[in-house]
Protein backbone atom coordinates (compact mmCIF):
# COMPACT_ATOMS: atom_id res chain seq x y z
CA UNK A 1 0.00 0.00 0.00
CA UNK A 2 1.47 3.34 -1.08
CA UNK A 3 0.21 5.34 1.90
CA UNK A 4 2.38 8.30 1.00
CA UNK A 5 0.49 8.62 -2.27
CA UNK A 6 -2.82 8.58 -0.41
CA UNK A 7 -1.55 11.31 1.86
CA UNK A 8 -0.15 13.32 -1.05
CA UNK A 9 -3.47 13.26 -2.94
CA UNK A 10 -5.42 13.99 0.23
CA UNK A 11 -3.26 16.96 1.23
CA UNK A 12 -3.21 18.31 -2.32
CA UNK A 13 -7.00 18.20 -2.49
CA UNK A 14 -7.37 19.68 0.98
CA UNK A 15 -5.04 22.55 0.12
CA UNK A 16 -7.62 23.82 -2.37
CA UNK A 17 -10.13 23.77 0.49
CA UNK A 18 -7.78 25.59 2.89
CA UNK A 19 -7.12 28.28 0.30
CA UNK A 20 -10.80 29.16 0.39
CA UNK A 21 -11.45 28.31 4.02
CA UNK A 22 -13.32 31.51 4.82
CA UNK A 23 -15.59 30.95 1.84
CA UNK A 24 -16.08 27.30 2.78
CA UNK A 25 -17.02 28.37 6.29
CA UNK A 26 -19.19 31.39 5.61
CA UNK A 27 -21.39 30.03 2.83
CA UNK A 28 -22.93 27.15 4.86
CA UNK A 29 -23.40 29.49 7.82
CA UNK A 30 -25.34 31.94 5.66
CA UNK A 31 -27.39 29.31 3.84
CA UNK A 32 -28.29 27.55 7.10
CA UNK A 33 -29.37 30.85 8.62
CA UNK A 34 -31.52 31.53 5.56
CA UNK A 35 -33.19 28.16 5.87
CA UNK A 36 -33.98 28.92 9.47
CA UNK A 37 -35.37 32.31 8.62
CA UNK A 38 -37.55 30.97 5.82
CA UNK A 39 -38.49 27.47 6.95
CA UNK A 40 -38.10 27.79 10.69
CA UNK A 41 -39.77 31.15 11.18
CA UNK A 42 -42.23 31.48 8.33
CA UNK A 43 -43.38 27.86 8.12
CA UNK A 44 -42.46 26.87 11.65
CA UNK A 45 -44.85 29.45 13.09
CA UNK A 46 -47.70 27.55 11.39
CA UNK A 47 -46.45 24.05 12.16
CA UNK A 48 -46.09 23.70 15.86
CA UNK A 49 -44.48 20.34 16.34
CA UNK A 50 -43.64 17.34 14.24
CA UNK A 51 -43.62 14.04 16.07
CA UNK A 52 -43.09 15.79 19.36
CA UNK A 53 -40.17 17.93 18.15
CA UNK A 54 -40.33 21.65 17.40
CA UNK A 55 -40.32 22.24 13.63
CA UNK A 56 -37.12 24.28 13.81
CA UNK A 57 -35.22 21.41 15.42
CA UNK A 58 -36.97 18.84 13.23
CA UNK A 59 -35.46 20.20 10.02
CA UNK A 60 -31.87 20.27 11.36
CA UNK A 61 -30.95 16.67 10.41
CA UNK A 62 -32.49 17.11 6.96
CA UNK A 63 -30.67 20.39 6.50
CA UNK A 64 -27.35 18.79 7.41
CA UNK A 65 -28.01 15.85 5.08
CA UNK A 66 -28.96 18.18 2.22
CA UNK A 67 -25.68 20.10 2.46
CA UNK A 68 -23.48 17.12 3.22
CA UNK A 69 -24.81 15.15 0.25
CA UNK A 70 -24.51 18.11 -2.12
CA UNK A 71 -21.03 19.01 -0.90
CA UNK A 72 -19.70 15.45 -0.95
CA UNK A 73 -21.01 15.02 -4.49
CA UNK A 74 -19.73 18.28 -5.89
CA UNK A 75 -16.32 18.14 -4.20
CA UNK A 76 -15.61 14.57 -5.22
CA UNK A 77 -16.92 14.90 -8.77
CA UNK A 78 -15.02 18.12 -9.38
CA UNK A 79 -11.91 16.73 -7.66
CA UNK A 80 -11.44 13.99 -10.23
CA UNK A 81 -13.10 15.70 -13.19
CA UNK A 82 -10.80 18.73 -13.09
CA UNK A 83 -7.56 16.71 -13.55
CA UNK A 84 -9.26 14.90 -16.41
CA UNK A 85 -10.33 18.20 -17.93
CA UNK A 86 -6.91 19.89 -17.75
CA UNK A 87 -4.94 16.73 -18.42
CA UNK A 88 -3.05 16.35 -15.14
CA UNK A 89 -4.75 12.97 -14.67
CA UNK A 90 -1.88 11.47 -16.70
CA UNK A 91 0.25 11.66 -13.59
CA UNK A 92 -2.17 9.60 -11.52
CA UNK A 93 -2.34 6.98 -14.24
CA UNK A 94 1.42 6.74 -14.62
CA UNK A 95 2.20 6.75 -10.89
CA UNK A 96 2.86 3.56 -8.93
CA UNK A 97 -0.55 3.68 -7.24
CA UNK A 98 -3.56 1.39 -7.35
CA UNK A 99 -7.22 2.34 -7.48
CA UNK A 100 -7.74 2.01 -3.74
CA UNK A 101 -5.05 4.59 -3.06
CA UNK A 102 -6.39 7.06 -5.62
CA UNK A 103 -9.95 6.64 -4.33
CA UNK A 104 -8.87 6.89 -0.70
CA UNK A 105 -7.11 10.19 -1.42
CA UNK A 106 -9.85 11.85 -3.46
CA UNK A 107 -12.87 10.45 -1.66
CA UNK A 108 -11.24 10.96 1.72
CA UNK A 109 -10.65 14.65 0.97
CA UNK A 110 -14.17 15.20 -0.43
CA UNK A 111 -15.73 13.42 2.54
CA UNK A 112 -13.66 15.50 4.97
CA UNK A 113 -14.85 18.72 3.38
CA UNK A 114 -18.48 17.55 3.50
CA UNK A 115 -18.05 16.52 7.12
CA UNK A 116 -16.65 19.94 7.97
CA UNK A 117 -19.66 21.62 6.40
CA UNK A 118 -22.00 19.29 8.26
CA UNK A 119 -20.41 20.22 11.57
CA UNK A 120 -20.57 23.94 10.72
CA UNK A 121 -24.28 23.62 9.95
CA UNK A 122 -24.93 21.76 13.17
CA UNK A 123 -23.10 24.51 15.06
CA UNK A 124 -25.03 27.27 13.26
CA UNK A 125 -28.35 25.51 13.81
CA UNK A 126 -27.68 25.20 17.53
CA UNK A 127 -27.62 28.99 17.65
CA UNK A 128 -31.24 29.06 16.46
CA UNK A 129 -32.78 26.03 18.17
CA UNK A 130 -32.13 23.71 21.07
CA UNK A 131 -30.69 20.48 19.78
CA UNK A 132 -30.39 17.40 21.87
CA UNK A 133 -28.76 14.39 20.23
CA UNK A 134 -30.12 11.15 21.65
CA UNK A 135 -27.72 8.75 19.91
CA UNK A 136 -24.49 10.65 19.28
CA UNK A 137 -22.52 7.60 18.12
CA UNK A 138 -25.17 6.66 15.58
CA UNK A 139 -25.30 10.30 14.48
CA UNK A 140 -21.56 10.36 13.80
CA UNK A 141 -21.71 7.00 12.04
CA UNK A 142 -24.57 8.10 9.77
CA UNK A 143 -22.85 11.35 8.99
CA UNK A 144 -19.57 9.64 8.13
CA UNK A 145 -21.22 6.94 6.04
CA UNK A 146 -23.19 9.56 4.11
CA UNK A 147 -20.11 11.72 3.51
CA UNK A 148 -18.09 8.76 2.25
CA UNK A 149 -20.74 7.09 0.13
CA UNK A 150 -21.81 10.29 -1.62
CA UNK A 151 -18.19 11.24 -2.15
CA UNK A 152 -17.76 7.84 -3.82
CA UNK A 153 -20.83 8.50 -5.94
CA UNK A 154 -19.46 11.93 -6.84
CA UNK A 155 -16.14 10.34 -7.82
CA UNK A 156 -18.00 8.05 -10.23
CA UNK A 157 -19.89 11.03 -11.70
CA UNK A 158 -16.59 12.89 -12.13
CA UNK A 159 -15.09 10.01 -14.08
CA UNK A 160 -18.24 9.50 -16.12
CA UNK A 161 -18.70 13.17 -17.03
CA UNK A 162 -17.34 14.25 -20.39
CA UNK A 163 -18.11 17.94 -19.90
CA UNK A 164 -19.17 20.41 -17.23
CA UNK A 165 -22.87 20.02 -18.12
CA UNK A 166 -22.75 16.30 -17.43
CA UNK A 167 -20.92 17.00 -14.20
CA UNK A 168 -23.94 18.98 -12.98
CA UNK A 169 -26.59 16.75 -14.51
CA UNK A 170 -27.01 14.03 -11.89
CA UNK A 171 -26.55 16.25 -8.82
CA UNK A 172 -29.09 18.78 -10.09
CA UNK A 173 -31.63 16.58 -11.82
CA UNK A 174 -31.54 13.48 -9.66
CA UNK A 175 -29.92 13.97 -6.29
CA UNK A 176 -31.26 17.39 -5.27
CA UNK A 177 -34.91 16.47 -6.00
CA UNK A 178 -34.48 13.15 -4.21
CA UNK A 179 -33.07 14.94 -1.16
CA UNK A 180 -35.82 17.57 -1.11
CA UNK A 181 -38.46 14.89 -1.57
CA UNK A 182 -36.75 12.60 0.89
CA UNK A 183 -38.28 14.14 3.97
CA UNK A 184 -35.61 16.78 4.67
CA UNK A 185 -38.22 19.29 5.75
CA UNK A 186 -41.20 17.11 6.60
CA UNK A 187 -42.14 13.76 8.06
CA UNK A 188 -43.43 11.12 5.71
CA UNK A 189 -46.46 10.72 7.93
CA UNK A 190 -47.53 14.21 6.82
CA UNK A 191 -47.96 12.99 3.20
CA UNK A 192 -51.19 11.61 1.65
CA UNK A 193 -51.28 7.78 2.03
CA UNK A 194 -50.42 7.01 -1.62
CA UNK A 195 -47.33 9.24 -1.51
CA UNK A 196 -46.25 7.62 1.72
CA UNK A 197 -45.89 4.38 -0.28
CA UNK A 198 -44.25 5.95 -3.36
CA UNK A 199 -41.72 7.89 -1.36
CA UNK A 200 -40.31 4.64 0.03
CA UNK A 201 -38.68 4.11 -3.39
CA UNK A 202 -36.56 7.17 -2.73
CA UNK A 203 -33.31 5.92 -1.17
CA UNK A 204 -32.62 9.26 0.50
CA UNK A 205 -35.69 8.76 2.71
CA UNK A 206 -33.80 6.00 4.53
CA UNK A 207 -30.76 8.17 5.09
CA UNK A 208 -32.62 11.15 6.45
CA UNK A 209 -34.92 8.99 8.54
CA UNK A 210 -31.99 7.18 10.14
CA UNK A 211 -30.10 10.40 10.72
CA UNK A 212 -33.14 12.03 12.29
CA UNK A 213 -33.60 8.97 14.53
CA UNK A 214 -30.10 9.53 15.92
CA UNK A 215 -31.19 13.02 16.94
CA UNK A 216 -34.75 12.54 18.22
CA UNK A 217 -35.32 8.79 18.47
CA UNK A 218 -38.20 8.91 15.99
CA UNK A 219 -38.01 7.59 12.44
CA UNK A 220 -40.11 7.18 9.30
CA UNK A 221 -38.63 3.77 8.54
CA UNK A 222 -36.98 1.21 10.87
CA UNK A 223 -33.42 2.17 11.76
CA UNK A 224 -32.05 -1.21 10.64
CA UNK A 225 -33.45 -0.59 7.17
CA UNK A 226 -31.77 2.83 7.10
CA UNK A 227 -28.42 1.28 7.94
CA UNK A 228 -28.91 -1.39 5.32
CA UNK A 229 -29.78 1.22 2.71
CA UNK A 230 -26.67 3.34 3.28
CA UNK A 231 -24.42 0.27 3.47
CA UNK A 232 -25.95 -1.09 0.27
CA UNK A 233 -25.49 2.22 -1.55
CA UNK A 234 -21.88 2.40 -0.42
CA UNK A 235 -21.29 -1.19 -1.55
CA UNK A 236 -22.69 -0.39 -5.00
CA UNK A 237 -20.44 2.66 -5.32
CA UNK A 238 -17.34 0.70 -4.27
CA UNK A 239 -18.16 -2.01 -6.80
CA UNK A 240 -18.59 0.61 -9.53
CA UNK A 241 -15.28 2.30 -8.69
CA UNK A 242 -13.51 -1.05 -8.61
CA UNK A 243 -14.90 -1.86 -12.06
CA UNK A 244 -13.88 1.57 -13.40
CA UNK A 245 -10.27 1.07 -12.42
CA UNK A 246 -10.16 -2.55 -13.52
CA UNK A 247 -11.29 -1.64 -17.01
CA UNK A 248 -9.84 1.86 -17.14
CA UNK A 249 -13.27 3.14 -18.25
CA UNK A 250 -13.02 6.79 -19.36
CA UNK A 251 -9.52 6.95 -17.86
CA UNK A 252 -7.24 4.77 -19.99
CA UNK A 253 -7.61 4.31 -23.71
Amino acid sequence: MNLRAVKAIYMYEMSRFFRTLAQSFISPVISTSLYFVVFGTAIGSRIDQVEGVSYGAFIVPGLIMLSVITQALSNASFGIYFPKFIGTVFELLSAPVNFLEIVAGYVGAAATKALFIGVVILGTASLFVDIHIQHPLAMVAFLLLTCISFALFGFIIGIWAKNFEQLQLIPLLVVTPLVFLGGSFYSISMLPPIWQKITLFNPVVYLISGFRWSFFGTADVPIGLSLLAIAGFMGLCIAAVWWIFRTGWRLRS
Binding site: N2, R4, F82, S253
Partner: protein, 313 residues
Protein backbone atom coordinates in the same frame (compact mmCIF):
# COMPACT_ATOMS: atom_id res chain seq x y z
CA UNK B 1 25.23 -2.18 -21.31
CA UNK B 2 22.18 -3.93 -19.94
CA UNK B 3 18.69 -3.59 -21.33
CA UNK B 4 16.45 -1.44 -19.18
CA UNK B 5 13.32 -1.43 -21.33
CA UNK B 6 12.30 -4.43 -23.42
CA UNK B 7 9.36 -4.21 -25.78
CA UNK B 8 8.14 -7.39 -27.45
CA UNK B 9 5.59 -7.49 -30.27
CA UNK B 10 3.63 -4.62 -28.77
CA UNK B 11 0.29 -3.98 -30.44
CA UNK B 12 -2.41 -1.46 -29.77
CA UNK B 13 -5.74 -1.21 -31.52
CA UNK B 14 -7.96 1.62 -30.30
CA UNK B 15 -11.68 1.17 -29.81
CA UNK B 16 -12.52 2.73 -33.16
CA UNK B 17 -10.39 0.04 -34.80
CA UNK B 18 -7.37 2.24 -35.46
CA UNK B 19 -4.17 0.22 -35.22
CA UNK B 20 -1.68 2.58 -33.60
CA UNK B 21 1.03 -0.02 -32.95
CA UNK B 22 1.51 -3.02 -35.21
CA UNK B 23 3.99 -5.21 -33.41
CA UNK B 24 6.85 -3.11 -32.07
CA UNK B 25 10.03 -4.79 -30.85
CA UNK B 26 12.61 -2.61 -29.19
CA UNK B 27 15.33 -2.97 -26.59
CA UNK B 28 16.53 0.16 -24.85
CA UNK B 29 19.93 0.05 -23.17
CA UNK B 30 20.61 1.51 -19.77
CA UNK B 31 22.04 5.01 -19.96
CA UNK B 32 21.42 5.70 -23.62
CA UNK B 33 19.49 8.50 -25.30
CA UNK B 34 17.11 7.15 -27.87
CA UNK B 35 15.23 9.45 -30.19
CA UNK B 36 12.02 8.27 -31.79
CA UNK B 37 11.34 10.04 -35.04
CA UNK B 38 8.18 9.88 -37.03
CA UNK B 39 5.42 11.91 -38.63
CA UNK B 40 2.21 12.82 -36.81
CA UNK B 41 0.08 9.79 -36.05
CA UNK B 42 3.00 7.40 -36.50
CA UNK B 43 2.49 5.85 -33.06
CA UNK B 44 5.23 7.62 -31.07
CA UNK B 45 2.94 8.90 -28.34
CA UNK B 46 0.96 5.66 -28.18
CA UNK B 47 4.21 3.74 -27.69
CA UNK B 48 5.33 5.99 -24.84
CA UNK B 49 1.86 6.15 -23.29
CA UNK B 50 1.61 2.37 -23.28
CA UNK B 51 4.93 1.93 -21.51
CA UNK B 52 3.96 4.55 -18.93
CA UNK B 53 0.51 3.12 -18.16
CA UNK B 54 -1.77 5.64 -19.88
CA UNK B 55 -2.80 3.26 -22.64
CA UNK B 56 -3.64 -0.41 -22.17
CA UNK B 57 -1.78 -2.61 -24.67
CA UNK B 58 -3.86 -4.91 -26.86
CA UNK B 59 -1.14 -7.56 -26.92
CA UNK B 60 2.60 -7.98 -26.49
CA UNK B 61 4.74 -7.20 -23.47
CA UNK B 62 6.90 -4.47 -22.03
CA UNK B 63 9.28 -4.76 -19.11
CA UNK B 64 11.01 -1.87 -17.38
CA UNK B 65 13.96 -2.82 -15.19
CA UNK B 66 12.75 -6.42 -15.46
CA UNK B 67 9.25 -5.62 -14.18
CA UNK B 68 6.26 -6.18 -16.45
CA UNK B 69 4.23 -3.00 -16.97
CA UNK B 70 0.94 -4.81 -16.34
CA UNK B 71 1.62 -7.44 -13.69
CA UNK B 72 4.44 -5.54 -12.00
CA UNK B 73 3.15 -2.04 -12.71
CA UNK B 74 4.16 -0.64 -9.34
CA UNK B 75 7.81 -1.57 -9.67
CA UNK B 76 7.91 -0.62 -13.36
CA UNK B 77 6.36 2.79 -12.82
CA UNK B 78 8.63 3.57 -9.89
CA UNK B 79 11.49 3.53 -12.39
CA UNK B 80 9.75 5.73 -14.97
CA UNK B 81 9.47 9.47 -15.31
CA UNK B 82 7.15 10.90 -17.96
CA UNK B 83 6.97 14.35 -19.47
CA UNK B 84 4.00 14.30 -21.83
CA UNK B 85 3.65 16.34 -24.96
CA UNK B 86 0.92 18.57 -23.59
CA UNK B 87 1.76 20.82 -20.69
CA UNK B 88 -0.85 20.15 -18.04
CA UNK B 89 -0.62 21.82 -14.65
CA UNK B 90 -3.23 22.97 -12.20
CA UNK B 91 -3.21 26.73 -12.80
CA UNK B 92 -3.70 27.86 -9.20
CA UNK B 93 -1.18 25.51 -7.67
CA UNK B 94 2.25 26.63 -6.54
CA UNK B 95 5.28 25.20 -8.30
CA UNK B 96 6.68 23.55 -5.18
CA UNK B 97 3.30 22.08 -4.20
CA UNK B 98 2.78 20.43 -7.54
CA UNK B 99 6.27 18.92 -7.36
CA UNK B 100 5.52 17.76 -3.83
CA UNK B 101 2.41 15.98 -5.10
CA UNK B 102 4.55 14.03 -7.57
CA UNK B 103 7.00 13.19 -4.83
CA UNK B 104 4.21 11.70 -2.73
CA UNK B 105 2.54 9.89 -5.62
CA UNK B 106 5.78 8.01 -6.22
CA UNK B 107 5.82 6.96 -2.60
CA UNK B 108 8.71 9.19 -1.56
CA UNK B 109 8.84 10.67 1.89
CA UNK B 110 8.25 14.42 1.95
CA UNK B 111 11.69 15.85 1.27
CA UNK B 112 11.94 19.62 0.79
CA UNK B 113 15.68 19.47 0.15
CA UNK B 114 15.10 17.16 -2.83
CA UNK B 115 12.47 19.55 -4.17
CA UNK B 116 14.86 22.47 -3.81
CA UNK B 117 17.56 20.47 -5.55
CA UNK B 118 15.47 19.64 -8.61
CA UNK B 119 14.02 23.16 -8.84
CA UNK B 120 17.49 24.68 -8.71
CA UNK B 121 18.74 22.31 -11.36
CA UNK B 122 15.96 23.46 -13.68
CA UNK B 123 16.37 27.17 -12.78
CA UNK B 124 12.94 27.25 -11.14
CA UNK B 125 13.90 27.88 -7.52
CA UNK B 126 13.05 31.57 -7.80
CA UNK B 127 9.59 30.59 -8.96
CA UNK B 128 8.89 28.01 -6.27
CA UNK B 129 6.03 30.02 -4.78
CA UNK B 130 4.61 31.20 -8.09
CA UNK B 131 1.29 29.79 -9.27
CA UNK B 132 1.84 27.73 -12.38
CA UNK B 133 -0.46 29.93 -14.50
CA UNK B 134 1.94 32.84 -13.94
CA UNK B 135 4.81 31.02 -15.64
CA UNK B 136 5.96 31.25 -19.24
CA UNK B 137 5.62 28.27 -21.56
CA UNK B 138 9.26 27.29 -21.19
CA UNK B 139 9.06 27.43 -17.41
CA UNK B 140 5.89 25.34 -17.39
CA UNK B 141 7.68 22.75 -19.45
CA UNK B 142 10.50 22.73 -16.89
CA UNK B 143 7.98 22.30 -14.06
CA UNK B 144 6.70 19.23 -15.90
CA UNK B 145 10.27 17.94 -16.03
CA UNK B 146 10.80 18.70 -12.35
CA UNK B 147 7.68 16.67 -11.52
CA UNK B 148 8.98 13.78 -13.61
CA UNK B 149 12.46 13.91 -12.05
CA UNK B 150 11.58 14.32 -8.38
CA UNK B 151 11.45 10.57 -7.77
CA UNK B 152 14.82 10.06 -9.50
CA UNK B 153 13.63 7.85 -12.36
CA UNK B 154 16.03 5.50 -14.12
CA UNK B 155 14.15 5.91 -17.37
CA UNK B 156 12.80 9.25 -18.53
CA UNK B 157 10.31 9.64 -21.37
CA UNK B 158 10.16 13.04 -23.03
CA UNK B 159 7.33 13.30 -25.52
CA UNK B 160 8.15 16.15 -27.91
CA UNK B 161 10.09 18.11 -25.29
CA UNK B 162 10.89 20.97 -27.60
CA UNK B 163 7.72 21.26 -29.66
CA UNK B 164 6.83 24.93 -29.95
CA UNK B 165 9.87 25.99 -27.96
CA UNK B 166 12.19 28.69 -29.25
CA UNK B 167 15.76 27.98 -30.25
CA UNK B 168 17.35 29.22 -27.04
CA UNK B 169 15.04 27.17 -24.84
CA UNK B 170 15.58 24.16 -27.05
CA UNK B 171 19.31 24.35 -26.44
CA UNK B 172 18.58 24.73 -22.73
CA UNK B 173 16.52 21.58 -22.90
CA UNK B 174 19.34 19.72 -24.61
CA UNK B 175 21.66 20.75 -21.79
CA UNK B 176 19.22 19.37 -19.24
CA UNK B 177 19.09 16.10 -21.17
CA UNK B 178 22.88 15.97 -21.37
CA UNK B 179 23.17 16.49 -17.64
CA UNK B 180 20.66 13.74 -16.95
CA UNK B 181 22.61 11.40 -19.14
CA UNK B 182 25.70 12.13 -17.06
CA UNK B 183 23.68 11.07 -14.02
CA UNK B 184 23.04 7.78 -15.79
CA UNK B 185 19.38 8.33 -16.66
CA UNK B 186 18.13 6.52 -19.74
CA UNK B 187 16.22 8.94 -21.96
CA UNK B 188 13.69 8.20 -24.64
CA UNK B 189 12.46 11.24 -26.50
CA UNK B 190 10.18 11.74 -29.43
CA UNK B 191 10.68 14.61 -31.77
CA UNK B 192 9.79 16.12 -35.08
CA UNK B 193 13.06 17.98 -35.21
CA UNK B 194 15.61 15.84 -36.89
CA UNK B 195 18.44 18.16 -35.95
CA UNK B 196 17.47 17.49 -32.35
CA UNK B 197 17.80 13.74 -32.73
CA UNK B 198 21.03 14.23 -34.60
CA UNK B 199 22.44 16.53 -31.92
CA UNK B 200 21.65 14.58 -28.76
CA UNK B 201 20.62 11.00 -29.47
CA UNK B 202 22.91 7.96 -29.29
CA UNK B 203 20.46 5.97 -31.33
CA UNK B 204 17.58 6.90 -33.57
CA UNK B 205 14.44 4.88 -34.10
CA UNK B 206 12.21 5.73 -37.02
CA UNK B 207 8.59 4.89 -36.47
CA UNK B 208 5.88 5.14 -39.06
CA UNK B 209 2.37 3.70 -39.42
CA UNK B 210 2.68 1.89 -36.10
CA UNK B 211 5.87 0.08 -36.99
CA UNK B 212 9.46 0.64 -36.08
CA UNK B 213 11.13 1.07 -39.45
CA UNK B 214 14.64 0.95 -38.07
CA UNK B 215 16.76 1.63 -35.01
CA UNK B 216 20.37 2.55 -35.49
CA UNK B 217 23.20 4.48 -33.95
CA UNK B 218 22.93 8.06 -35.04
CA UNK B 219 26.35 8.23 -36.72
CA UNK B 220 26.00 4.87 -38.41
CA UNK B 221 22.59 5.76 -39.68
CA UNK B 222 23.93 8.95 -41.17
CA UNK B 223 26.80 7.13 -42.82
CA UNK B 224 24.83 4.15 -43.99
CA UNK B 225 21.86 5.96 -45.33
CA UNK B 226 23.71 9.04 -46.47
CA UNK B 227 22.87 10.48 -49.81
CA UNK B 228 25.50 12.78 -51.15
CA UNK B 229 25.23 15.59 -53.55
CA UNK B 230 27.95 16.71 -55.95
CA UNK B 231 27.63 20.31 -57.09
CA UNK B 232 29.50 21.08 -60.27
CA UNK B 233 29.91 24.75 -61.10
CA UNK B 234 30.30 25.33 -64.81
CA UNK B 235 32.37 27.86 -66.65
CA UNK B 236 29.65 28.42 -69.23
CA UNK B 237 25.97 27.97 -68.44
CA UNK B 238 24.14 25.07 -70.10
CA UNK B 239 20.71 25.41 -71.67
CA UNK B 240 19.93 21.70 -71.20
CA UNK B 241 21.58 18.54 -69.96
CA UNK B 242 23.45 16.97 -72.92
CA UNK B 243 21.89 13.73 -74.23
CA UNK B 244 25.09 11.80 -73.67
CA UNK B 245 24.72 12.41 -69.89
CA UNK B 246 21.04 11.54 -69.65
CA UNK B 247 21.79 8.29 -67.80
CA UNK B 248 22.95 10.22 -64.74
CA UNK B 249 20.63 11.66 -62.07
CA UNK B 250 21.45 15.25 -62.96
CA UNK B 251 19.73 18.51 -62.35
CA UNK B 252 20.50 21.96 -63.68
CA UNK B 253 20.40 24.82 -61.20
CA UNK B 254 21.26 28.52 -60.98
CA UNK B 255 20.27 29.29 -64.61
CA UNK B 256 22.34 26.44 -65.93
CA UNK B 257 25.53 27.44 -64.19
CA UNK B 258 25.42 24.52 -61.73
CA UNK B 259 24.96 20.80 -62.32
CA UNK B 260 23.82 18.77 -59.32
CA UNK B 261 24.53 15.07 -59.20
CA UNK B 262 22.95 12.89 -56.47
CA UNK B 263 24.53 9.58 -55.54
CA UNK B 264 24.43 6.97 -52.86
CA UNK B 265 27.55 6.59 -50.73
CA UNK B 266 26.56 2.99 -50.10
CA UNK B 267 26.76 2.08 -53.79
CA UNK B 268 29.83 0.21 -54.96
CA UNK B 269 30.39 2.68 -57.73
CA UNK B 270 29.35 6.23 -57.22
CA UNK B 271 29.69 7.00 -60.90
CA UNK B 272 31.67 10.17 -60.30
CA UNK B 273 34.67 9.23 -62.46
CA UNK B 274 32.48 8.27 -65.39
CA UNK B 275 30.44 11.42 -65.05
CA UNK B 276 33.53 13.64 -65.02
CA UNK B 277 34.90 11.82 -68.06
CA UNK B 278 31.58 12.34 -69.79
CA UNK B 279 31.63 16.05 -69.03
CA UNK B 280 35.13 16.31 -70.43
CA UNK B 281 34.26 14.55 -73.67
CA UNK B 282 31.27 16.90 -74.06
CA UNK B 283 33.73 19.76 -73.80
CA UNK B 284 32.16 21.17 -70.65
CA UNK B 285 34.62 23.19 -68.58
CA UNK B 286 34.34 23.07 -64.80
CA UNK B 287 34.99 25.89 -62.39
CA UNK B 288 34.47 24.24 -58.98
CA UNK B 289 33.28 21.07 -57.23
CA UNK B 290 31.49 20.60 -53.90
CA UNK B 291 30.04 17.57 -52.12
CA UNK B 292 27.42 17.69 -49.39
CA UNK B 293 26.10 14.98 -47.06
CA UNK B 294 22.31 14.90 -46.90
CA UNK B 295 20.75 15.61 -43.53
CA UNK B 296 18.87 13.14 -41.42
CA UNK B 297 15.73 14.94 -42.48
CA UNK B 298 16.21 13.91 -46.06
CA UNK B 299 17.03 10.37 -44.99
CA UNK B 300 13.90 10.28 -42.95
CA UNK B 301 11.64 11.60 -45.66
CA UNK B 302 13.12 9.00 -48.01
CA UNK B 303 12.50 6.19 -45.54
CA UNK B 304 8.91 7.11 -44.88
CA UNK B 305 8.22 7.48 -48.58
CA UNK B 306 9.71 4.01 -49.18
CA UNK B 307 7.55 2.50 -46.47
CA UNK B 308 4.45 4.10 -47.93
CA UNK B 309 5.31 2.81 -51.38
CA UNK B 310 5.64 -0.70 -49.94
CA UNK B 311 2.30 -0.36 -48.21
CA UNK B 312 0.64 0.75 -51.40
CA UNK B 313 2.16 -2.12 -53.40
Amino acid sequence: MAAVVEIRDLRKTYEGGFQALKGVDLTIEEGEILALLGPNGAGKTTLISTICGLVTPTSGSVTVGGADIVTGYRKARELIGLVPQEISLEPFEKVKDTVRLSQGLWGMKRDDAAIEDVLRKLSLWDKRDARTRELSGGMKRRVMIAKALIHKPRVLFLDEPTAGVDVELRRGMWEVVEELRRDGVTIILTTHYIEEAEAIADRIGVIDAGQLQLVEETGALMARMGQKELRIELHMPLAAIPDALSDYDLELADDGEVLIYRYDTRAERTGITALLNGLQSEGIVLRDLQTRQSSLEEIFVGLVADAQKEDAA
